[in-house]
Each structure stands twice: as structure tokens, then as C-alpha cells.
């Protein structure tokens, strides 16, 4: 069995930040990711981030990803790509399948789970037709693979993901035929929403997709208005000429590894559903296992990076790599930046939901 001090699972913004922080403190870190490239969702985020200077506001996700990777290289962090973590046994043993060929067990003193989240689906007749996809998948296609998923798009969901991907699809040359939002109000940041609206895209609030039609791919979609109980109103159906339906209906934390390991769960609807309980230091109910990023509740890349720093620092501190004072200073600074991110109309709710998790007594 191989041994490492800290194993970080997931090389997105949270995992990279956690690995960097633990390595800076002096711990030997192994960073694993099931994908062939590190960076998680950062490299498809071609838009500039929000927040203040400390949060690298104004910098594009792709550039942040490049910076983090360069730093990881400088710190000599060991990275395994195409490495799937299949389970955690006895609180310390991580089972990893490398290159779909070789099973390896790594015994870790500390494990940081930064597995991210998965897009929610919406089920309607025709939802399994080619052409129906997650908005994040469409974003990967245009921004990473440079493939336009279709010409005529229906976006389902007006949150930040739906709006940003709509805008990027427009930039990539697609025609966004409509954005539908089941809620009576739009969900995304105003500045992005306004950009999409100025481009002439119609928005339908209190609407959802009823059906997709087509023989071997999407050829049209029917949308319908919803009443105040979210039930379709007969007679309000509209037929849209689209070949692609993007679903931006939120994300669910990828918690399987944590729960299979035995971490205690907690329900947090605002943060995406079942999440592992964790304390302020990002430790779970299993003291060797920490969390960072969307697995601990769906937020955004900037909060994921702060959580990564907090988890990486806490893990290093628990291994004796930093003294109490250094830890307190570093942790408080990260927490302060985090509180700034979790403020305002969108942030405050997340801040409350996070406080509820941390404040929840175990068991």
C-alpha cells in the first residue's frame, strides 16, 4: 500500500487551492482527478469573476486555473490524472483506479474531498433525445472543445449558469431562442441577464419545458406557462423551433465518496441537498476527512477556492505543520474573505445555510 500525508480528491478550484495550501505548509500532497486535465470547471469559465481584488475579481476562470496549476508545479505537488477515487475505507485508505487499468490503495493521514457537483436533470417527454443536455455540458463543448452543440437553443433555467451559458452560446454563434424560468422571477445576476436580454433573447418567467420532439435528435420543444402552484396552464403551450435544449436547473453536490466513507449527512436544500456535515475548519464527522468546494454545498468558484484554502490549512495544522498562531492568522484571513463573498442578496442566504450546517450538532 502506498502512503501519503494528504490526498486531495478533485483538482478543480477547491481541490487545487487545498493542495496548494497544504503543500505550502510543508505537507506531502497527492492530488488526484478522474479527468485527463486538471482545473475542474475553471478552464471553461472564460468570463471574469465577481468580487473584490482579493478574490481575483476581473480575472477569467481560465487564467485563474493556469495560475493555480503553475503554482502546483512550483510546489512539486504530485498529481495523478485519469485517476478515479472509487472508495474510502477505514477512514484512511483511498482506493484509486489509475488509467482505467490499475487499482492502487493509498493510505492517507488526511483526505480532502473536493469532488464538486453534478448538474440536475429535468425530466419531460423527449428528455433523453440527443440535443438535450446540461448547460454546463454545452459550456464545456463551446469553451473547451470548440464545438457548437446546436444552432437554435432553448435554455431552461435563468440562474447564473443558465444566463452565462446563454451569453457564451450567443458569442459562439448560436441563436438562443428563449430562456424559460419556472419561478416567477429571474434567478441570475442582473448584469449578465441584461446582456442576454439586450441581445434580443426572449425571457419567459413562470414557464417550463413540457416536451421535446424529434426523431433522432431534438427538432422542436413545447413550453408552457405555470400557475402559482407550478402546474401547467392548459392552452398556454408554445411551440419553439429549437435543436438544442440546455438544462440549467441547479447542481447537486457529489457526495458519494463522503457518504460511502461514513461521513454524517445533513440536508441543506439551499446548498443543493444532502451534504456531509462539517465544522468551521471543514472537517467532517470523520476527523481524517475534510471537504472543500461544492461537495460541502453548491456555491461558486471563488468560495470553493477559499474553502480549499481553509481545508488545506486545517489539514496541515492538524498534522502539526503550522503552529497555532500561524494557523489562526491564515484561517481568519480566509474566513474573512469568505464572509465578504457570502454577503449581499445571493450570498447572505448561503451564509445562513452554511452557518446552519456548522452550527448543527453532530448526531
Amino acid at each position: 500500500m502506498e502512503e501519503r500525508e494528504v490526498v486531495v480528491i478533485g483538482a478543480g478550484p477547491a481541490g487545487l487551492s487545498a493542495a496548494l495550501e497544504a503543500a505550502r505548509a510543508g505537507a506531502h500532497v497527492l492530488l488526484v482527478d478522474e479527468n485527463s486535465k486538471p482545473g475542474g470547471q475553471l478552464f471553461k469559465q472564460i468570463h471574469k469573476f465577481f468580487g473584490s481584488h482579493e478574490h481575483r475579481a476581473g480575472v477569467r476562470g481560465i487564467d485563474i486555473g493556469t495560475q493555480l496549476l503553475e503554482e502546483a508545479e512550483r510546489l512539486d505537488i504530485e498529481v495523478w490524472l485519469d485517476a478515479e477515487a472509487c472508495g474510502i475505507f477505514n477512514t484512511t485508505d483511498v482506493w484509486i483506479v489509475r488509467n482505467k487499468e490499475k487499482s492502487v490503495t493509498v493510505r492517507a493521514k488526511r483526505i480532502i474531498l473536493a469532488t464538486g457537483a453534478v448538474e440536475n436533470s429535468v425530466n419531460f417527454p423527449g428528455w433523453s433525445l440527443p440535443g438535450v443536455m446540461g448547460a454546463g455540458a454545452a459550456q464545456t463543448m463551446i469553451n473547451l472543445h470548440r464545438v457548437l452543440p446546436g444552432q437554435k437553443i432553448l435554455m431552461v433555467g435563468s440562474g447564473n449558469v443558465g444566463i452565462i451559458v446563454s451569453y457564451q452560446l450567443l458569442q459562439a454563434g448560436a441563436d438562443v431562442k428563449a430562456v424559460v424560468e419556472a419561478a416567477p422571477r429571474l434567478g441570475g445576476y442582473g448584469v449578465h441577464t441584461a446582456k442576454v436580454r439586450r441581445a434580443g433573447v426572449p425571457f419567459y418567467t413562470s414557464h417550463t419545458v413540457l416536451e421535446a420532439r424529434g426523431t433522432d435528435h431534438v427538432e422542436s420543444a413545447t413550453i408552457v406557462q405555470l400557475d402559482d402552484k407550478w402546474k401547467p396552464i392548459p392552452g398556454t403551450e408554445k411551440e419553439l423551433d429549437v435543436d438544442t435544449i440546455c438544462i440549467a436547473a441547479g447542481l447537486t453536490p457529489l457526495v458519494e465518496l463522503a457518504f460511502a466513507a461514513g461521513c454524517e449527512p445533513l440536508y441543506s436544500p439551499l446548498l443543493g441537498g444532502m451534504v456531509p456535515w462539517h465544522d468551521r475548519s471543514m472537517a467532517t464527522s470523520i476527523p481524517t476527512i475534510y471537504l472543500a468546494g461544492d461537495i460541502s454545498g453548491v456555491e461558486e468558484a471563488s468560495t470553493a477556492m477559499e474553502e480549499g484554502r481553509m481545508a488545506g490549512l486545517s489539514a496541515a495544522y492538524s498534522l502539526g505543520y503550522v503552529d497555532r498562531e500561524t494557523y489562526a492568522v491564515g484561517f481568519d484571513a480566509a474566513e474573512k474573505r469568505m464572509l465578504a463573498l457570502r454577503s449581499g442578496m445571493f450570498g447572505q442566504k448561503r451564509r445562513d445555510a452554511k452557518a446552519a450546517i456548522v452550527g448543527h450538532s453532530r448526531g
Partner: protein
């Protein structure tokens, strides 16, 4: 006080829900009290077989026939496909010794009315072209079937509720006592008390513990069964598969089977069934590890290695999940179904080990008949009182 009923069923797995459903259908006011949530126990972590070929001629095989008929009628009654399918099954034979035992077994089963036969190597490979070279023959029965446990439980619960059955989750039973009227008072972790003249203990691997709360004796051992689930793949052969190895060792005591220490410790046997969702469930272990129902790397690895050695094409298939459940095992391998002597109204319906899905409908139906006053002479051999002597030794 949380309510009084005609019958309280303790345990909301597939057996408890089946008991509750058939009792409700007979007009009883029923509460099903479950310690956890929906499908939290063994019924939510098992395979989906309605298997005939593994059963010795006798009460188990007889009840499996009746259960299959009930499944067919439940498809209409519960208005759902229930994932019911009839792919048939083959038991793989790898040497002459196994073949002799299986030939004798198949003849017995045939005389009991089971449609089963031995296939030679060529016939076997026609149905299962991807098998390893080492198998010389197999059995084949077109009767082996399957049902999707989650759908069955969901529909038994849903239809039962429509008929007035109550299903109460997150309520671990902490006490069972008699009150002044001779009714049972069942108390739960929420400090709630439910009363009824009849209590059915359908708590699977926990049946011994729950029976003890009422002062009854049920010898029940948990056996951990680990199973892996593959990604969606095209069909691998026509039927579901098992190997003869363990069947033979169960049928012939003293039969030397060639197993490693690890295989023995894990109780490893091969079961390979295609699900409604086009993935495969591959099992299984049979381990004595108390109430620990975690999956283990050792168990998962052993299942994978065994599966690849039997069906080599599986080496290119991903497994997506591993599950483990605690199968309730009785000392004689037969379920416990009946009223406890000297405890009027206290029944146990548990101990199906690997046959819970197969036998759930018939267990519920027979239990309901019993509670409603119909006796079935065959069921004497399943009575909890067959262990009365052991109970005295224990106390």
C-alpha cells in the same frame, strides 16, 4: 399514545410491506413501523432474483412457485411493471463432480414440477457465448425471474396507503409490552406508543433483537452480502447466471470445494443478473461480521476478480456502485413464519436470507391468512416454535 390498530407490522422492508399490504387488503387497520427510511435495510441492498434453481425441493421451492404467481398478479393489482422480467437462469458447472451432484439435484427439481434441464457445453455456449473456457456444462431453467425491489416496495406501500395502511418511518422500536387489555404496546424512539392485539416482527436480520423486546426467541444471524452494480451495457448472454460451486457445497455436506482462504472468509459465490436498467448486479459475499453493513475493498475486489474469471468480457466494463445488505439467516436455512407459542398475537415473518425478494409476496399473503384465522398445515415447519428447545438452552 400515537394510535391503535388491528395489526402493527414492525419492519418496513419488502417483507414487512408485503405483510402490511395483504393484511390491509383483508380489511385490517395496519401500521407498518420502520426504524429507518424507505428501503434502508437489506431490501434496498440486494439483487432482484426470483430464483428457483437454488432451492431444494420442499417448502422453499413450493412457496417460490406460489410467489411467482402472486408477482404476476401484483403487476396488475399494483398497476406497475414492478421490473418483473423472466430472463431464465443458468447454473454453471466446472467439473465432473459438480455435474453429478447437479444432475441428481435437477432430477429432483424436475419431479417437483420445476422446468429445468442440463445443457451440454455446446448448448450452454449458444446461450452464453462469453463464458470462460472452464465450464463443461450448465443447468437451464426458463422460470427464473426477477423483480425490481424498489418498485415492489414503493407500490406495495403506495397501494397499501391508499387502502388505509399507515407507514411510519424513522421509528425504531424500543419496547414491546402487554397492556391491561391484552393488547401489545409498541413504543418507539420518539416516545410514541402504538397498540394492537397483533404484532408482526418482520425485521429481517434484526428479528432476534426485536423478538427479545417482547420476550420471544428468534435465532437470527446477519450475513453481510456485498454486490456490485455495473454501468449500462448490452446484454451479456441470454440469461442470468450462477455457479454450481456453492450450491453443490450446500447440497452435499463434506463436498470438498476448491476455495482460497479469502473466498471462504467472504463466503464468495457468483450471481450475475441483468437489471431493468440494463446494468448488471454482480454478487455476492456471505460474511459473518455482525451488523456492519459497510462495503469493503476486499469484498468488492473478490467479486470483480471472480466475475472477470467467469465472464472475461467484463474486464472492460465499469462498475458504478457497490452495495451491502444484511441477509437474515436462520439455523436451518428456512424462513420463520408463524405465531409464537404462548404469545397470542405475536408473529414473526423473517429469516429469508437470500430469498427475500423471491418469497416476499407469498410470505405476506400467508401471514395475512394466518392472522385472519386461516391455517395452512404446510407451515408447521416454518413456525418459530421449531427452535423452542434452543430457546430454553439460551435462557
Amino acid at each position: 399514545m400515537a394510535g391503535s390498530y388491528d395489526v402493527i407490522v414492525i419492519g418496513g422492508g419488502i417483507i414487512g410491506l408485503s405483510c402490511g399490504y395483504y393484511l390491509t387488503k383483508q380489511g385490517k387497520r395496519v401500521a407498518v413501523i420502520e426504524a429507518g427510511g424507505f428501503a434502508d435495510g437489506a431490501s434496498g441492498a440486494c439483487d432482484d432474483m426470483i430464483l428457483f434453481q437454488s432451492k431444494k425441493p420442499g417448502i422453499n421451492l413450493e412457496l417460490a412457485f406460489e410467489s411467482l404467481e402472486l408477482y404476476k398478479s401484483l403487476v396488475g393489482e399494483l398497476d406497475d411493471s414492478l421490473g418483473f422480467a423472466n430472463y431464465g437462469g443458468m447454473v454453471l458447472i466446472q467439473n465432473q463432480q459438480e455435474l453429478e451432484v447437479m444432475e441428481e439435484f435437477v432430477t429432483q427439481q424436475q419431479s417437483y414440477g420445476l422446468d429445468v434441464k442440463i445443457l451440454d457445453r455446446k448448448e450452454m455456449l449458444r446461450k452464453q457465448p462469453f463464458l470462460s473456457d472452464r465450464f463443461i456444462a450448465s443447468t437451464y431453467s426458463p422460470m427464473d425471474s426477477q423483480a425490481y425491489p424498489f418498485a415492489v416496495m414503493h407500490k406495495l406501500s403506495g397501494k397499501g396507503r391508499k387502502l388505509g395502511m399507515q407507514v411510519i418511518h424513522k421509528s425504531p422500536v424500543t419496547g414491546i409490552e402487554k397492556d391491561g387489555n391484552g393488547d401489545y404496546r409498541v413504543s418507539t424512539g420518539q416516545n410514541l406508543t402504538y397498540t394492537a392485539p397483533v404484532v408482526v416482527n418482520a425485521t429481517g436480520a434484526w428479528a432476534g433483537k426485536v423478538a427479545a423486546l417482547a420476550g420471544a426467541y428468534v435465532p437470527m444471524e446477519p450475513r453481510r452480502g456485498q454486490i456490485i452494480i455495473t454501468e449500462k451495457v448490452p446484454a451479456v448472454g441470454e440469461t442470468n447466471l450462477w455457479t454450481a460451486k456453492y450450491l453443490v457445497s450446500k447440497l452435499k455436506s463434506g463436498f470438498e470445494i476448491d476455495s482460497t482462504e479469502e473466498e471462504k472468509r467472504l463466503g464468495l459465490g457468483f450471481a450475475f443478473t441483468r437489471t431493468e436498467g440494463d446494468s448488471y448486479l454482480i454478487g455476492s459475499t456471505r460474511e459473518s461480521v455482525g451488523y456492519d453493513k459497510r462495503t469493503t475493498m476486499e469484498g468488492i475486489r473478490a467479486i470483480i476478480n471472480q466475475a472477470v474469471s467467469i465472464v472475461p468480457v467484463l474486464k472492460d466494463v465499469n462498475f458504478i456502485r457497490a452495495i451491502a445488505g444484511l441477509r437474515p439467516a436462520t439455523p436451518d436455512g428456512k424462513m420463520i413464519l408463524g405465531e409464537h407459542a404462548g404469545m397470542k398475537g405475536f408473529y414473526t415473518a423473517a429469516g429469508h436470507e437470500g430469498d427475500g425478494i423471491s418469497l416476499a409476496p407469498i410470505t405476506g399473503k400467508l401471514l395475512a391468512d394466518m392472522v385472519c384465522g386461516t391455517t395452512d398445515a404446510r407451515l408447521g415447519e416454518l413456525s418459530p416454535n421449531r427452535f423452542a428447545k434452543d430457546a430454553k438452552e439460551v435462557s
